[in-house]
């Protein structure tokens, strides 16, 4: 079973749109939306939820006012300033470390589990999907990402799928790390803006750090040809293949408003420009599939991709 993770240095690069298009092109895949913080894929794929599981993040401390003798010890030892003057715990400030429970002389503090979100196993018109919903202000989304990935794996086994397509979170934080570790290929969606180039460099650094073969796709490549060239040069230097360039096209927004993938949307379209765009997406997908086949064993895959620093 192969795993592909699509990421971007930042949000708004068209990552989810592209992943949704892949979902409608892939023949035998499970979709995993690991962008748990701002999960959007379900808006297009409209999963029918088969199984739902509560997700518990860190616990939260609770002080029993009956038992509290206001000795201030908890306030003194809590390094996150989560206990206020009235000896109440701020649920957003509490990191669930439980230090207050060990310093309290009167056993007034207990740790309570809290439901921090839900993970789902679902069915979509393109096959099985694993996804999640993180509660507001909850941390440890890395843990939730891992839960989604393990659900995706289970679905793949159950339905005999040989590929997992992961829509990764933006950024380089702990949930991104959780979404790329152990996958066979990372596809970075980038855009030719000054900040896009900067984010691309950071995300590639991360992928290299975890030694995962990486390819790049440049979205909205025509909004700034010069920057597109800079990205190509940078990738050439790093020996990271650029497997596609997509021009700016408002078909992306149009398809989204119809709640369709852009492949579905263009099926009915007469517009030459639009079908050309989706042809290009199909070609990118074909390349990704090819490369994934090539990474039969990690060693060979890495050689195929000629990753530097490996």
């Amino acid at each position: 079973m192969k795993q592909l993770t699509v990421i971007s240095g930042k949000g708004g690069t068209g990552k989810t749109t592209l992943t949704a298009a892949f979902a409608s092109l892939a023949k035998n895949a499970v979709i995993a939306d690991c962008d748990v913080d701002t999960a959007d894929m379900h808006l297009i794929l409209k999963p029918e939820i088969l199984e739902k599981e509560d997700y518990y993040g860190f616990e939260v401390a609770r002080i029993d006012p009956e038992l509290c003798i206001e000795c201030r010890k908890c306030r003194e030892f809590c390094r996150y300033g989560a206990v206020n003057e009235n000896f109440e715990v701020d649920p957003y400030g509490c990191e669930g470390c439980a230090v207050c429970t060990i310093v309290c002389p009167n056993g007034a503090v207990s740790m309570e589990q809290r439901v921090s979100g839900q993970s789902f196993s679902s069915e979509t018109r393109f096959g099985p999907m694993a996804h999640a919903k993180l509660g507001i202000g909850e941390e440890a989304s890395g843990k939730l990402v891992s839960a989604v990935r393990s659900n995706a794996k289970k679905l793949a086994e159950q339905y005999h799928k040989d590929l997992i397509i992961i829509d990764g979170p933006p950024g380089t934080g702990c949930s991104t790390i959780a979404a790329i570790t152990g996958t066979d290929l990372v596809l970075v969606v980038s855009e030719p803006t000054v900040s896009g180039i900067h984010d691309l460099k950071r995300i590639i650094e991360l992928a290299v750090h975890f030694m995962i073969p990486t390819v790049v796709c440049i979205n909205k490549s025509d909004i700034n040809e010069e920057n597109t060239q800079l990205i190509e040069n940078f990738c050439a230097e790093q020996e990271i293949p650029v497997i596609g360039r997509l021009p700016y096209n408002d078909i992306v927004t149009k398809a989204m408003l119809q709640e369709q993938t852009l492949i579905e949307y263009t099926k009915g379209s007469e517009c030459l420009n639009e079908s050309e765009f989706s042809d290009q997406v199909c070609q990118i997908w074909a390349r990704v599939e090819n490369i994934l086949m090539g990474v039969q064993d990690k060693q060979k895959g890495i050689k195929t991709l000629k990753m530097k620093n490996l």
């Binding site: 701002t38 230090v99 000054v194 900040s195 896009g196």
Partner: protein
């Protein structure tokens, strides 16, 4: 006054709004020049300075306390590893192993250890940098080390540099999780930037949930207005949320963005609009019931 610029997700134009607002408010050409501080709280991917081009200097290292175990004193009683909520300690038969990247620096293990075998030292999480000399706006940013996960700690350290006598603009990270809360937590006002598309609308609703939970007054900016449909406007109307500004889906703005230029620099007529927005926010905060358009 502290104003955070947030959005449910990335790519909606948060940084654009933060920069253009900060530049408009601190512009010497206009009669309302204020002392403005701009904070890039997106410490995983700070982008503001790509548009400002300031020379930066380090003002502090952000560190996290971490335990050091004296193997001589440790008798492997396992109390510390059993306690650690983040699995940063693992007791083997012969020694206790420590995984720094998992440690949150709570200090519990040092408090607990009956043998006094645990001392604390510091581990670097990232840095806080500021623009050299006198810049306008004054600019600070946090930078999280690659592969590091203690995002909120860096944001909290960054926010210590807020000067309450000045106007502080905070460019928040995307999303609705912990780092966003750390950024938006104690501000006076929050501007939510969105687009009127399927994704933008969905994420806006999540972001509204966050600011409502934190009880922070807020308003909305619709970016790339004209793209998509009217669902965001209808929603705001129904919910009584002020729409502070509409930034059109303008090729010129997109092109300036791609070159790293805040658009008020080339389109000065927009400064007035940002200033008006700032006034509207003040009015809203003063509790004046006025239609803000």
């Amino acid at each position: 006054m502290k104003i955070a610029i947030a959005s449910g997700k990335g790519g909606t134009g948060k940084t654009t709004v933060s920069l253009n607002l900060a530049l408009s408010l601190s512009d010497v050409q206009l009669d309302v020049q204020l002392d403005v501080q701009l904070f890039d709280c997106d410490v995983e991917e700070p982008n503001c300075n790509l548009f400002l081009g300031f020379d930066l200097e380090k003002v502090e290292d952000v560190v996290c306390p971490v335990p050091v175990i004296d193997q001589e004193k440790c008798n492997i009683c396992r109390q510390c590893s059993d306690f650690c909520r983040y699995n940063a300690l693992a007791a083997l038969p012969t020694r206790v192993l420590f995984f720094p990247s998992l440690c949150h620096g709570c200090g519990g293990c040092a408090v607990l250890c009956p043998e006094k075998a645990i001392q604390e030292t510091h581990r670097s999480l990232g840095v806080i940098e500021k623009a050299k000399g006198k810049s306008s706006p004054e600019f600070y940013r946090g930078l999280l080390n690659i592969g590091e996960t203690m995002t909120s700690a860096v944001i909290k350290a960054l926010k210590k540099h807020i000067d309450s006598r000045k106007t502080a603009i905070l460019d928040a990270p995307p999303g609705t999780s912990c780092p966003v809360i750390a950024s938006v937590d104690d501000v006076d006002y929050c501007v939510l930037v969105t687009e009127s598309t399927l994704f933008g609308f969905h994420d806006l609703k999540l972001a509204v949930g966050v600011v409502r939970a934190l009880k922070v007054p807020f308003g909305v900016i619709i970016n790339r207005w004209g793209l998509g449909d009217s669902r965001v406007e209808e929603y705001c109307k129904a919910e009584g949320i002020p729409v502070l500004l509409k930034i059109p889906n303008d090729l010129r703005i997109a092109e300036l963005y791609s070159r790293g230029i805040p658009f008020v620099r080339e389109m000065p007529e927009w400064k007035e609009k940002f200033l008006d927005m700032f006034e509207a926010i003040k009015l809203q905060l003063a509790g004046v019931e006025e239609e803000i358009t």
